[in-house]
């Protein structure tokens, strides 16, 4: 979360818990959710979605986990599985995200002389095309991150009609709000408690659609909070020990 965020909102939940709850609802009724590297909040959301159903569905694959990951065919299996149409939801972020849903995980500045280098595109240049529901996720909502046009397209938000593309972005979740994505454009869906539409406009570098009245993002239910804290957090600790400790006060299992 941005440094200025309060550790706990007035509603008695942490911002990370709100975001995980929002994402769990976006996941919806699917068979398989996969979560890539360095995505603790989406991982929380995926495990929450599963625990809420109570029937072991959706399958949740945390790429960096051994326990929460059924893959036995090596590091390629995630991508093969996605190619088979067997991954319904995935999460991507971006050093920059623009109004057309393009994401940049590579660099700021000119290619060949970048000012800033990010880690790299990971699987985005593939998964963004083939996973039906890609949820974009960025906890720094600013004109630095949400830009008119990305400097480098790790993966485009939309493709020409003749390009094989069963997948793509459905939403963008930030520390301030939730956007949906359709037909090449973001639409503001809700603003998180404590934030405003004006603030979202001020801090967003791209144009987006919005209804006359923008609802507030609903707070997590008591049950969702209980599941995250009591059931999900201990499972997270294997893969995201720092996060589990910081957000939920949970250490590595012995």
């Amino acid at each position: 979360m941005a440094g200025a965020s309060p550790a706990m909102t007035n509603g008695g939940f942490r911002p990370e818990e709100l975001l995980a709850d929002v994402i769990a609802r976006l996941i919806g009724d699917v068979r398989h959710v996969a979560v890539g590297n360095a995505s603790p909040i989406p991982a929380t959301a995926a495990l929450l979605a599963r625990e809420r159903n109570g029937n072991g569905r959706p399958y949740v694959s945390l790429l960096q986990s051994r326990k929460h990951n059924f893959f036995t065919d090596g590091a390629r299996e995630l991508f093969d599985c996605a190619g088979q149409g067997r991954i319904d939801v995935f999460f991507l972020s971006g050093g920059q995200i623009d109004g057309q849903g393009n994401i940049n995980l590579v660099e700021i500045g000119d290619h060949g002389h970048p000012k800033v280098r990010f880690p790299g595109s990971f699987g985005s240049a593939y998964l963004y095309y083939v996973v039906p529901k890609v949820i974009l996720f960025r906890t720094e909502h600013s004109r630095r991150t949400l830009v008119p046009k990305v400097d480098f397209i790790s993966a485009p938000g939309m493709s020409a009609d003749n390009v094989f593309r069963p997948g793509g972005p459905i939403a963008l979740v930030t520390n301030r709000c939730v956007f949906s994505f359709a037909n090449g454009r973001f639409t503001l869906q809700s603003v998180h408690p404590g934030h405003t539409v004006d603030e979202v406009i001020e801090h967003t570098g791209f144009d987006f659609a919005r209804p006359a009245t923008v609802p507030e993002t609903p707070a997590p239910s008591a049950e969702a909070l209980r599941l995250m804290r009591a059931v999900v957090a201990p499972q997270l600790a294997e893969v995201y020990p720092q996060f589990a400790k910081q957000v939920f006060g949970v250490g590595m299992p012995a």
């Binding site: 595109s121 990971f122 593939y126 963004y128 993966a155 996060f243």
Partner: protein, 273 residues
């Protein structure tokens, strides 16, 4: 069947020569960190490093120590410990050539070499700048379906695959378990060098349960025992990452001076150990 037997670490690494095309696995698949430190001590130069499909400490260390000319991977990051500082500095300082890829493209390139075909097709990529800046990747209209465009990726045939695994036997067989991409790396590469936690007493191929997770010695050129050889990275199912050490690395490697200090303390220091 006789295998390579084991060798002292430095000797086992002999196939990794200056300028060679070296493939290494991702950060949680058994990263040969003891071998990496030995390569830095030896002063290996001009590596064309392929990290399948991503890397963390290993690539950052090799880059920082000046061993890498070209890096081909999908991402380098220290994960929860932040960006990979020496990697980032090398790119912005233009001291290495970067071939940005996306994870399944690297898997496909290795699998092409494994299968002895010149290329493999891959979905996605069309319209991305990843594709735009790779002039070694081609786009054709698929002859199946509606002539939609599809990317063809050339085979990646490494000179050497370098892996770390839980165990090997005296016939040269290496038990890799679920990390099947390690087998693909060995199949694709001309030579394979493995470090292992320990030697297995017996023939890994003789037991059907162990055989299922075994890379046959046929593909393996040299093996060295390196206990806790992935440290400070994890060897899944065997030991976890050393988070404290990784945090220390992230802190020190943030500056060239700090990185030099890290090398002195944790890489060169071991030379006399």
């Amino acid at each position: 069947m006789t295998g390579p037997g084991t060798k002292p670490l430095e000797e086992a690494l002999a196939p990794i020569t200056d300028g060679c095309l070296l493939v290494v696995p991702r950060e949680v698949s058994g990263v040969p960190m003891a071998a990496t430190r030995a390569l830095i001590r030896r002063g290996v130069k001009r590596l064309h490093l392929v990290a399948l499909p991503t890397s963390s400490l290993q690539a950052d260390l090799l880059i920082g120590a000046g061993c890498v000319a070209t890096l081909e991977t999908s991402a380098v990051s220290l994960g929860e410990f932040g960006p990979a500082p020496r990697f980032s500095a090398a790119i912005t300082g233009r001291t290495i050539t970067m071939k940005d890829a996306t994870c399944p493209a690297l898997h496909a390139g290795l699998q092409a070499a494994e299968k002895g075909v010149p290329f493999m097709p891959l979905r996605g990529l069309i319209g991305s700048d990843v594709l735009k800046y790779r002039d070694d990747w081609k786009v054709i209209d698929s002859p199946f379906g509606n002539a939609d465009p599809i990317v063809l990726l050339p085979a990646i045939r490494p000179d050497v695959a370098l892996i770390h695994a839980p165990m090997a036997d005296r016939f040269g067989n290496v038990w890799i378990g679920r990390q099947r991409e390690l087998a693909t790396m060995a199949h694709a590469a001309v030579k394979t060098v493995a470090t292992v936690e320990k030697m297995h007493d017996g023939d890994l191929l003789a037991d059907p349960v162990l055989a299922a997770g075994t890379l046959p010695g046929f593909y393996v050129d040299s093996i060295a025992v390196a206990e806790r050889g992935a440290w400070p990275l994890p060897l899944p199912d065997y030991y976890a990452a050393d988070a404290e050490h990784l945090a220390l690395y992230a802190k020190l490697a943030a500056t060239p001076e700090g990185f030099a200090d890290y090398l002195d303390r944790y890489v060169y220091e071991k030379q006399t150990a």
